[in-house]
Structure formats: C-alpha cells, structure tokens
C-alpha cells in the first residue's frame, strides 16, 4: 500500500474529518432525509479504510484496534435484538417500539433511532473487520516479497 506520496497524505488528512462528520450526519438525519444506518456505516468504515490505505494498516489499527472491532460487530446486532426484546417485555409484540414512550408515535421514533444506531455499529465494524482481514494478508504478502527481494 502507498506510503510515500505526500499529496495523498495531505488530502486524506483533510478529507477524513469531513467524511466522518458526513457519516454521522447521514446517520442521524435518516429520519428527515435520505440516509440511515447502512449508508452511514459504510461511509464511516470508508473513512477509516482511507486512513488505513494511505498510512498503513498498523496505523489504522492503532486508532481502532482489532479487538474493538471484534467487539463492536455483535454489539450492533445485540442492540437491535435487545430493542425488540424490550418491546416484548413492556407488553407489546416483539420489535414493536410503541411502549417505549408515552406517545406511541414517539416510541416508534425512539425505536427507529436506536435500531438505526445498532445497524450503523454492525455495518461499520463488519466492513472494517473485512478490510483488516484482507489488508493484513496484503501486508504479509508485501513483507514476504520484500524479504525475498533482499536476499
């Protein structure tokens, strides 16, 4: 992966916060405009992947370690399913968000927000974990080729 080009580094450092802010904007405005969990998750993962591609996988793993990613992947599913169970425990059907608040409409809105957050966490961490998997292999292949080139 490229490490020596200065233009890419500068542009990446400029773009990275913009992409992350855009991802969170899309996530939380999923109710009022296009967006939602999936788009935001992929965009956020894309920001970290950009960082990993330009500065190397170890740098990206310093920011978001592999163990954190491995914990976040099931966490999102847990949040989603947990919200459904919460609806079950409060008296309604599974995945019915109405009893979460006094007004059923507000309950639905809150349920949608929580569920989208869970989707965001799972999608972002899965994309990142897949990238770490492929990128780690690429780094190994590069290291092996460099060793053979030196001999």
């Amino acid at each position: 992966m490229m490490r020596d080009t200065i233009i890419l580094r500068v542009v990446a450092k400029l773009l990275l916060p913009a992409i992350l802010i855009f991802a969170f904007y899309v996530q939380f405005h999923g109710d009022y405009g296009p967006g939602g969990g999936f788009q935001a998750g992929v965009a956020a993962a894309g920001a970290i992947i950009l960082y990993g591609m330009i500065f190397g996988i170890p740098a990206a793993q310093h920011v978001i370690p592999t163990t954190v990613v491995q914990v976040m992947v099931p966490l999102g599913v847990l949040i989603f399913a947990g919200t459904g169970v919460l609806g079950l425990m409060l008296g309604e059907n599974y995945l019915n968000y109405s009893p979460l608040r006094a007004d059923p409409g507000d309950g639905q809105h809150l349920g949608i927000l929580i569920v989208e957050a869970g989707v965001f966490i799972t999608v972002a961490s899965t994309m990142l974990a897949i990238f770490y998997g492929f990128g780690g292999l690429a780094d190994e292949a590069d290291a092996a080729a460099a060793e053979e080139g030196e001999e």
Binding site: V42, A45, T66, I130
Partner: protein, 179 residues
C-alpha cells in the same frame, strides 16, 4: 451502463475490469436518483463504488493475476444467455406501462405506508420508517446476514489478523487441514 458491461466482458486486464465495475456502480447510482430512489442510490454508491472496489483491489493485489484466455469457445453459454434474455424480454412485454400511478404494484400496501408512516412514526422519511419499524424483522435478518458474512470472512482469513512472524513459509497454514 451497457457500454461499461460490454467493456467488462471484453477486457482481459483485471484492474481494468475492477475499475469498469466501479464506474458501472456509479452510473447505476445515478440512474437510481433519476428513478427517485435516493436512499438506495446513496447505499449503492457507497457500497458498490466504494466498498466493493476496495475489496476487489485488495484481492487483486493479493493474487496478482491476469485473466487467461478462454479455452473453449463459449457458444453454449452464449446461446443459453440469449435464450434467457429472449424469454425475459417476452415477459416484460406484459408489464404495466412505466410510471403510472394506477399500476397494480402501487395500489395495495404502498398508499397505506405513504399516508400513515408520518403519523404513526413521526419521521418524514417513509423508507426509513418502513425499514426500521414496519418491516423491522427484515432489517434484523439483514443485520444478521452482515454479521455472519463478517464472521465468515474473519474465519477464512484468520491468519491475516494474527501476526505470525516466526513462521517463515506463509503457505504452511495449519488451518488447511482443519477446514
């Protein structure tokens, strides 16, 4: 998009194929915006033109091959594909005209969603409301599918995450016997 697909079929350099695939995804996202599907377009642009291309490029970097020429002339697949295409075109002749509000697919469930989604869920984006609330089960299944695919990839590529510096030959993988 048609030209892009023809280019993908004809190209032998795999890097060109991946780039053309990314261009194709982007064009598809544009077409989706024209078809008023803004959520879908954003997802397709992010996922198809972004994520898929990154993964394909990573695999290209790992395998480093160029496509070998075809050994057998592909007449039978071409014939089967043309036959399928002909049958599908014959099927599309029966579809209702494009863009009519009275077509049967716009009649039964969709007006209910359009009228009641804002009132019942307090969110103006009908697609998000339907996705997360009315059809929440499907979204739960989808998140589970992503989760399973992530775990599958991690298991298949497990040696990439463990730093095995002591092993001189990276092809000697003990998991080859286990799987």
């Amino acid at each position: 998009m048609v030209i892009t697909v023809v280019g993908i079929i004809r190209a032998h350099n795999l890097f060109a194929v991946v780039m053309l695939g990314s261009v194709y995804s982007f064009l598809m996202a544009t077409v989706m915006v024209i078809l008023d599907a803004v959520d879908v377009s954003m997802t397709e642009a992010a996922v198809g033109a972004g994520m898929s291309t990154v993964l394909l490029l990573a695999v290209l970097h790992l395998t480093k091959t160029r496509e070998a020429p075809l050994r057998h002339k592909p007449y039978i697949p071409l014939f089967v594909c043309l036959l399928t295409g002909g049958a599908l075109v014959y099927g599309t002749l029966d579809l209702p005209p494009f863009g009519e509000a009275n077509a049967p697919q716009n009649q039964h469930v969709a007006p209910y969603y359009i009228e009641n989604a804002e009132h019942e869920t307090h969110s103006p984006n009908i697609v998000t409301a339907v996705l997360a609330s009315y059809r929440g089960y499907d979204t739960l299944g989808e998140v589970t599918v992503i989760f399973t695919a992530g775990i599958g990839v991690l298991i298949l590529l497990a040696s990439g995450l463990r730093r095995r510096r002591e092993n001189a030959d990276p092809l000697q993988d003990p998991k080859d016997d286990a799987i």
